[in-house]
Subunit: 218 residues, 2 copies
DNA sequence: TAATATAATTAGATTACCCTAATTTAATTT
DNA sequence: AAATTAAATTAGGGTAATCTAATTATATTA
């Protein structure tokens, strides 16, 4: 089995590859892992030895297929446990991240699959992030940032790109709820604030920062 | 927080104190932890430094009150997760131990308490072992070994002292089920085999080894 | 009680993961 | 292209948890 640390590196590399392109830099990894660069160099050598990543001196890292499988497996665990915490234990969506960070490292495919079944094979976690299936296939999301919509366009609120408790709290407070319809009623040229119509005709004004962190589907 | 290793030492010391008396020997601990004696000596020094145990060179270990609290907390986690696995995920009682060994180390009192509530505040795990409450109080069991009963005495099967999958499987196969009544119909002088009447009048013959691993309550 | 056997400790190493300081490699600017 | 800046690596160390081999302390038995 792999250590928790290795698994966390794999997850971090996976996410950086998703958002920042194929090859991941030592410094970027150091930042998200909260360690210093030499620790990363060190770790990458060990992980390359185990064929979890391909690593070339000063040229960054990529996951191998095996590394990707492990990473996706952990993401699957993470998101399923988040669903468990929210659906079964009544946690709120802004409270579950740290607990899921622990639970994701429980090693048992069988447990993961039984949990999946118990939860009714959910497609997404409480933040709208898709849950990989047991073969490590993660459905490509067709959701789009609210900030790309034009006036009078609309969609269903299906996810966020900012997972901080602060942001999620703001959404709760302001009346955003996953699955609800959202319509763009106005965009202010000057400062790019968006006027949105939420479910029940409620209108709210949000900053570009917010509009750029909301995912809508059709 | 404490490391998993520390927590496992604490649990082991706690259990050895329960069964073998107040003071625990290095060698006993080495055996149950599956490590060699010098590793134990080493670890005990570190743990004594953290005030989790009191340790005197060549005189064995005892838990401090703090150490006991941590140990009981882990046992609480372990047993609650076992209930979860059996009641909610349909695991069998002989399959849950290793998974619970992982889950017990999830650090969150809040999670433990929410899980407890979700499970309906169970009093015992799937093997009949009592679950400590949130204050670390573990109810003293009044159960008694079947091997201490005389002919025609009876009780309710409420626990086991052997938790191996092999034994639990044997019980399943033979028709023992937690909560059922058991009556002693005969005891063979020669080899100490017990003839038992199970629920539904079914009679079975078991060895002393088995009779000595079953707990009954009245 | 002296001799022996068992248990526990010390000494010295190893591995995983992390650090700081110094150096090298790569990228950017002049 | 040379000089400067930024990124990455090497060198050398530290801690937690383990090991083996050697030594000391305790317990048992003659």
């Amino acid at each position: 089995m792999h250590s928790f640390t290795e698994e966390n590196y794999l997850k971090a590399i996976y996410k950086l590859q998703e958002t920042n392109g194929e090859v991941v830099a030592t410094s970027a990894l150091a930042q998200v892992m909260g360690v210093h660069a030499p620790s990363v160099t060190d770790m990458l050598k060990r992980m390359a030895g185990k064929k979890l990543v391909t690593y070339q001196k000063s040229k960054g890292v990529k996951l191998t297929e095996r590394g990707r499988q492990v990473a996706v497996g952990i993401i699957r665990n993470h998101r399923l446990w988040e669903v468990f915490l929210v659906d079964k234990l009544d946690y709120k969506w802004d409270e579950v991240h740290d607990l899921a960070e622990q639970l994701e490292h429980i090693h048992s495919e069988d447990l993961t699959n039984k949990l999946d079944k118990f939860l009714g094979f959910p497609k997404a976690d409480p933040h709208g992030d898709p849950i990989p299936d047991s073969n490590g296939v993660l459905p490509k999301s067709k959701a789009v940032l609210l900030s790309t919509l034009k006036i009078n366009e609309q969609g269903t609120f299906t996810g966020v790109t900012d997972h901080t408790a602060a942001f999620l709290n703001y959404l709760d407070k302001t009346g955003f709820s996953l699955g609800d319809p959202i319509k763009v009623k106005g965009i202010e040229e000057y400062d790019q604030t968006y006027t949105l119509q939420l479910k029940g005709k409620k209108e709210v004004v949000v900053s570009f920062k917010v509009a750029n962190s909301l995912l809508l589907s059709y």
